[in-house]
């Protein structure tokens, strides 16, 4: 019994049944392609796009003719080329991290020939979601930034893993909740080192405090303490405090850890 039809249920009921029953019967056959020259780009999220391509018979001949040459997907904005990604034309699909949220993007599938790049396919245009708060404010409305920040925080306050993931992707590649580590078995000789990071501070008690866009809980006196597992690398932690009277303060902290083998 599993009609887990939205993405939220597995979160709640992730140990879903692995039902022994396999659906019986043959799967209908679909064509492997539609013999059309086509390069299609699709948005996956603010960073990633998915693309797939197909060739007509003539173009497949061209592809085969140059099969030993390098093929690329060129990632283009209206102004410039963002990247050239080496691909295998027979793969027929590819995921690309555009590193370009908010940008309007198109692709070209090209092969590098002796006389330069030969464009085989051009894609549709797609606009990546920004993944962030717009910097545009409506002139017809009076926007109160401080107020907005406060409400924005409140909304973030109930953040599901979406927000955590997004924050992680942006800044905190090396920050994670402290997780109990498994020590090696006692019978082996070992040396085990690790470290954690504790940050504490204080702000106006009624302010809203953000650490890398995540809300930080304050005690009634405005004090806070954060506890992270600290992995190798350099991390910067940005703190923004928004007071009720509209004032804001920003402070940043950079920490580096390097564990020598």
């Amino acid at each position: 019994m599993t009609f887990s039809l939205t993405t939220h249920k597995p979160d709640l009921f992730k140990n879903d049944l692995n039902h022994p029953l396999k659906y019986k019967g043959h799967e209908a056959a679909l064509p492997s392609g539609y013999a059309t020259n086509r390069l299609i780009a699709m948005v996956r999220d603010p960073y990633w796009l998915f693309c797939y391509w197909d060739f007509d018979n003539n173009s497949w001949e061209t592809v085969n003719q140059y099969i030993k040459q390098p093929f690329f997907l060129r990632l283009l904005t209206e102004e410039n080329e963002l990247a050239k990604i080496p691909i295998n034309p027979q793969a027929r699909s590819w995921y690309i991290n555009t590193y370009a949220p908010g940008k309007t993007i198109s692709l070209e599938l090209v092969v590098c020939t002796a006389s330069g790049f030969l464009v085989l396919l051009k894609s549709n245009l797609i606009t990546m979601p920004t993944g962030s708060v717009s910097s545009f404010t409506d002139e017809l409305w009076l926007s109160i930034n401080e107020l907005y920040s406060e409400k924005y925080c409140l909304s973030l306050g109930g953040s599901p893993h979406y927000w955590q993931k997004e924050a992680k992707r942006e800044e905190a590649h090396y920050l994670a909740s402290p997780i109990p580590q498994l020590l090696p078995s006692a019978k082996d000789h070992y040396l085990w080192l690790d470290t954690e990071l504790i940050i504490y501070g204080k702000t106006t008690p009624d302010a809203v405090l953000l650490q890398n866009d995540q809300v930080v809980a304050l005690d009634p006196e405005g004090q806070f303490q954060l506890h992270f597992k600290l992995n190798d690398g350099k991390q910067s932690l940005n703190f923004e405090s928004y007071a009720k009277n509209g004032l804001s303060k920003t402070k940043a902290l950079t920490v580096e850890r390097s564990l020598q083998p």
Binding site: D11, H19, D138, S155, G158, P160
Partner: protein, 520 residues
């Protein structure tokens, strides 16, 4: 005037599953949802109506669900299945006779099943009529939804398919409820700019999105997600409230994970002797959930203790009070920093209440009762809000969904990305055919069936199931089957295919009044 608004919206949906032969496992999803969610939901609305509680709640019943609920064959099979469950209930009450508290739980399941049977007979098998009734007395606002729960943002390249999903969804709503819908449930809250123009063209006034559709909107909304924005297409977008969402959805912090609540996984279908259960496991024969579960969640491990229904019931009421208290606190606070009463939009999958979270209907009934009597909150639907506050800011909501990570990746990843070249090709092909004029009746009938097959292939459920892995074979097979049917029906139109058309009309009789030209 109250300080703020609470809009609870339930989204009821199941993929269209109707096999020629009786007894397939996937078809039981409908039967289980009727028993565990839809009838309990009607019961709680009935209780509140009897108490004259001034309730307002939004409910979307998707076209596939409505089509299954009116399907005589499925309803006949349901009645038959219900008798088997009742037989099991009798056996269970007897088996647990001298064991406390198991007998109490068995008796509870038996009473629930008897209630389902009585209600089903009382409504003469028509479970859509009572929802219509609750809309007519003003307790419920029913929302329309896409024809087959197609995930619209990934149809950006085939806008004719986005349009067809919306047009067919709205026309099914009119067929079932006899009035025009005002609100639209975007499947998976999936939005991308442009979809709003199709909604507006079909007379819809609002839709529900996830929080960041508003927070990341272009231009920055003044009230964040505590007021709707109008899209350039002049439809209002309401953004989900994260706090109320987390309290109900979250596995770690949410109410449904409370240790006193009934455990979903521990089921006698896997615990008891095969011989004892064989009559309920037939005709498939493999072990499965039966709905008879006697343990509470107890802990995060496999260790389980007996379930006490009365304790769990009390807990559900306690959680309801906590939920309303928190919404009041939220509104009280927001009211101090905004110049208009904030709206908290709380959408949930209907099947969470009752099916996954057994005590969910008790919780929901109590939440509605408390919120309706709150001095701080006013229960509304988004339509009511727009009547109170017709002036709203104009901005473009961000592309988004309520799926994992907030965008399209659930329905576009390694397990399911292969479907898009086929769906796109079919969408473009049908657009060309739909633009042809003066086709003879026989070809139109054939293309109507092709439209049904394409819509069925577009259900977001298949891509989702492929990703989650359980029943992935079934989802793959359904996608391929509908697409293969589509290509058969739309290739060589001059070659007659009457037998196939007739066969497929019987096999997939969804949308009796469809007109393929919606794909133009």
């Amino acid at each position: 005037m109250k300080k703020g608004y609470l809009a609870i919206i339930l989204h009821a949906h199941l993929p269209y599953i109707r096999h020629l032969s009786d007894g397939d496992l996937e078809e039981e999803w409908l039967y289980e949802a009727i028993i565990e969610t839809y009838i309990p939901l009607l019961n709680l609305l009935e209780n509140l109506e009897a108490e004259r509680v001034p309730v307002r709640i939004g409910i979307s019943l998707t076209p596939p669900l409505l089509n299954m609920l009116e399907d005589k064959t499925l309803l006949k099979r349901f009645k038959k299945r219900l008798e088997v469950y009742l037989e099991l209930a009798d056996k269970e009450v007897k088996r647990t006779e001298r064991t406390y508290p198991f007998n109490e739980t068995a008796q509870l399941y038996k009473n629930n099943l008897l209630n389902v049977k009585a209600k089903f007979e009382f409504f003469q098998g028509d479970l859509i009529a009572p929802f219509k009734h609750f809309q007519s007395v003003g307790m419920v606002e029913l929302l329309a939804s896409a024809a087959t729960h197609g995930y619209l943002p990934l149809m950006d390249l085939t806008p004719n398919c986005q349009k067809a999903q919306i047009v067919q969804g709205v026309s099914e709503y009119k067929r079932f409820f006899g009035v025009d819908p005002k609100g639209f449930w975007l499947p998976e809250c999936g939005f991308s700019p442009g979809i709003d123009t199709f909604l507006a063209a079909n007379g819809l006034r609002y839709f529900i999105t996830d929080t960041h559709a508003l927070l990341h909107a272009n231009i920055k909304p003044r009230y964040a997600n505590y007021a709707p924005i109008y899209t350039p297409g002049k439809v209002a977008a309401f953004g989900r409230d994260q706090e109320s969402s987390k309290q109900v959805w979250s596995a770690t912090e949410g109410y449904p994970g409370d240790y006193d609540y009934r455990d979903f996984y521990r089921d006698i279908g896997f615990d008891l002797d095969y011989e004892y259960l064989h009559f309920i496991l037939e005709p498939v024969g493999s072990r499965k959930m039966t709905g008879f579960k006697y343990y509470k969640i107890t802990s995060s491990s496999d260790y389980k203790e007996p379930y006490y229904p009365a304790t769990a019931r009390a807990k559900a009421k306690l959680h309801a009070a906590n939920f309303v208290f928190n919404r009041e606190a939220q509104v009280n606070y927001l009211a101090t920093i905004t110049d208009r009463p904030p709206i908290l939009v709380a959408p949930y999958d209907a099947e969470l209440f009752g099916h996954w979270w057994f005590e969910g209907p008790i919780f929901l009934e109590e939440v509605l009762r408390l919120a309706a009597n709150s001095s701080v909150l006013e229960l509304v639907t988004p339509k009511d809000y727009l009547e109170y506050h017709p002036t709203n800011q104009i901005a473009i909501p961000s592309a988004s969904s309520w799926g994992y990570n907030g965008y399209n990746e659930v329905w576009l990843e390694g397990s399911n990305d292969w479907i898009y070249p086929h769906l796109h090709a079919a969408g473009w092909h049908l657009a060309n055919l739909a633009a042809q004029k003066d086709l003879p009746q026989s070809k139109q009938r054939r293309l109507n069936q092709a439209a049904r097959e394409l819509l069925l292939a577009e259900s977001s459920d298949w891509a989702f199931i492929m990703k989650t892995g359980t029943f992935a074979d079934y989802a793959r097979k359904r996608t391929k089957e509908h697409l293969a049917n589509f290509w058969q029906l739309t290739t060589n139109l001059d070659q007659p295919l009457n037998d196939l058309v007739e066969k497929l009309e019987k096999l997939n009789p969804i949308f009796p009044e469809i007109d393929y030209r919606i794909f133009a």
